[in-house]
């Protein structure tokens, strides 16, 4: 590993990054989405260094926004902004991790099923069809209730992410399989076969690059779905308490404030808008992310 090799690899990655940024910039909607996401990431990972999270109750309950509390205080007198900032990290990690797992499983099954075909395809697709019909969010609620009932106090983000992917991969698997069936017939695949390249290379080296735009877009959308489910479970109040978790904030807002007039609307609005804005950012970016892989755009 000579120094020159390291430098040239870094240079090529930087060039790809620059190309990617250039492409995103050209699509206004995607750019907006991208900036939103970057903003959230920064807040999530750097924010906690600037804002302290103090979870002890204070007498300043349900105060409106002020200099001291830019987003007001919750029913226990705690600062809402601090809670949002500290909860962002978990939300992003769980959301993106779940999205990644969903896409990984869905793509793997779809590619295998589509390329190998035959009995394997039949079996995998039957399983996929069944999983596709089982309602995902109700199942998650049931699992969450049972887990918590059996004493599990906290769910580590990776475990939560895996659970969120349990049914989500099925739709993607079907879609990817259709695409693989079409790509399989392309002349450049026949060329690869004639060259004698391995099945592994054909699936991951030739077919996969053609699936990347779709996979990237689905990664964003799966993350949206995972965040929807994750917040939803928390908002039900199943989890007793988690500091700063946005879903729990929603639950508290609806329990204490949601039925009373005139008081504490920011308790309801702040976490709601935080979640919605993140979802909008992801959706907007997902619409343009496939452009990143378009070869025509990658070169000037």
């Amino acid at each position: 590993m000579s120094a020159r090799w390291v430098k040239s690899t870094i240079a090529s990655y930087l060039r790809s990054l620059y190309t990617a940024l250039r492409i995103i910039k050209s699509d206004k909607a995607a750019l907006t989405g991208f900036l939103i996401i970057v903003g959230y990431i920064l807040v999530a990972f750097i924010g906690p260094f600037f804002i302290e999270l103090d979870l002890s109750p204070t007498p300043e309950r349900l105060c409106p926004p002020s200099w001291k509390h830019p987003l007001g205080t919750d029913p226990f007198g705690r600062d809402i902004l601090a809670q949002l900032v500290h909860g962002a990290r978990e939300m992003l990690i769980v959301g993106f991790l779940a999205g990644a797992i969903t896409v990984a499983i869905g793509a793997a099954i779809g590619m295998l099923s589509g390329y190998v075909g035959g009995k394997l395809d039949m079996v995998l697709m039957s399983i996929t069809d069944i999983v596709l019909t089982i309602p995902g969010f109700p199942l998650l609620m049931v699992i969450a209730a049972f887990l918590i009932g059996s004493g599990v106090k906290e769910l580590a983000p990776p475990i939560a992410a895996v659970l969120l992917s349990i049914t989500a991969w099925a739709g993607l698997a079907r879609a990817i399989r259709s695409q693989v069936l079409a790509i399989k017939e392309e002349p450049f695949i026949e060329a690869a076969k004639t060259l004698g390249l391995s099945k592994f290379h054909i699936i991951f080296g030739e077919i996969l690059p053609n699936l990347m735009p779709y996979i990237a877009m689905n990664f964003m959308l799966s993350s949206v779905g995972a965040i929807y489910a994750y917040v939803g479970i928390m908002a039900l109040g199943l989890v007793a308490y988690k500091p700063g978790n946005w879903g729990v904030m929603l639950h508290m807002a609806m329990s204490y404030v949601g039925t009373v007039t005139g008081v504490g609307s920011w308790c309801v609005l702040a976490p709601a808008m935080a979640i919605v804005l993140l979802q909008i950012g992801l959706v907007l970016f997902s619409n343009g992310v496939d452009k990143l892989f378009n070869p025509r755009l990658r070169e000037e």
Binding site: F137, M141, S150, L236, L284
Partner: protein
């Protein structure tokens, strides 16, 4: 024919799988509710026999039998519509669930239809005015509204329109002072109470239909038979509805299944907050009180509802599009 049988088998397998999952969660998972109950009864000093009888009544699971027998008995009672008894009140789970089901089906179907109609109309309009101001605004609005989680929209509608400004009722599926029946009074009360929850679904899901219809219509507009129809001199309006509309809508039916799953998914939160007496609300209460027989009952009913609606949707779709049948 063979194709219908295949779909029916799929549906049956899905339901069977769900029942097995719930059995696993109730009985076989480490730390499952039945074990916890046994422990609790033991701590309270309840005699073994009594404890087992209680459990049998609640879950239809006889702990004296071997594993596979418990499983079969469980499945058997489910197939007979007996889902055990709730822990809170001792009433039949099936009764509770069945009370809520019609309300949820009503809400969900109405929302789906309205959302579909609005979405499809806007989608076709946007496709015809492709690239114009209307198209761009509508498409962006569709994308953004899709990103909104439906329960958050429900929360906002509830908070602002029902509580702060008292425009709509905040609780219940109908005014309890009115006697249920086929009277105008009752029906309008039901609609009035269903309005906000419905809006929550409609606003967050019309976007999907709109974008799908738009791209489908654009594709159809490019097809030869449309150009031929125009060349033959048919009126634009007739072309739009008979040729373009029908063909563009067909692929959308395929995503009905996903839409249904999504709507039933959000129902628990939305119905709980609106105190709308559907299956979702029952499930919400069950979750809150950790009433496991009831939780499992709600989940199974929701699954059956989704599976059955998918099946019906598939049959309708196949009747509309002959290619599906021949393709198989």
């Amino acid at each position: 024919m063979r194709w219908i049988v295949k779909r029916a088998i799929h549906a049956a397998l899905t339901i069977y799988l769900s029942m097995t999952i719930t059995f696993f969660l109730i009985r076989a998972m480490p730390g499952n509710p039945i074990e916890m109950l046994l422990v609790e009864y033991r701590l309270r000093g309840v005699p073994e026999e009594l404890a087992k009888a209680e459990i049998a009544a609640l879950y239809n699971i006889n702990l004296d039998e071997p594993w596979w027998s418990q499983y079969l008995r469980y499945l058997w009672s489910l197939l007979h519509g007996d889902m055990g008894k709730t822990m809170i009140s001792g009433s039949s789970v099936a009764e509770c669930v069945m009370y809520g089901l019609p309300w949820t089906v009503f809400l969900v179907s109405l929302s789906l239809i309205i959302s579909f109609v609005i979405g499809v109309t806007l989608g076709m309009l946007a496709a015809y005015r492709r690239g114009g101001i209307f198209d761009r605004i509508a498409s962006t609005a569709a994308s953004i509204s899709q990103a909104f989680p439906n329960y958050i929209m429900a929360m906002l509608l509830l908070y602002y329109l029902a509580i702060q400004y008292k425009l709509f009722p905040a609780r219940g599926s109908y005014d309890i002072n009115i006697k249920p029946g086929f009277t105008i009074e009752f029906i309008s009360s039901v609609l009035y109470h269903a309005f906000l929850p419905m809006m929550a679904y409609v606003i967050t899901s019309f976007g999907g239909w709109m974008l799908a219809m738009r791209s489908s219509t654009i594709r159809v507009l490019g097809e030869d038979y449309v150009v031929a129809a125009e060349a033959r001199g048919l009126k634009s309006r007739r072309i739009a509805t008979t040729y373009v509309g029908r063909n563009a809508i067909l692929p959308l039916f395929a995503s009905f299944a996903i839409a249904l799953g999504y709507i039933f998914g959000g129902s628990t939160l939305i119905e709980t907050w609106f105190a709308y007496t559907g299956v979702g609300m029952v499930m919400g209460l069950a979750l809150q009180y950790r009433d496991y027989p009831l939780i499992q009952g709600c989940f199974l009913i929701i699954t059956v509802a989704v599976v059955v609606s998918n099946f019906i949707a598939d049959i309708v779709y196949s009747k509309l599009d002959p290619r599906i049948r021949i393709g198989e």
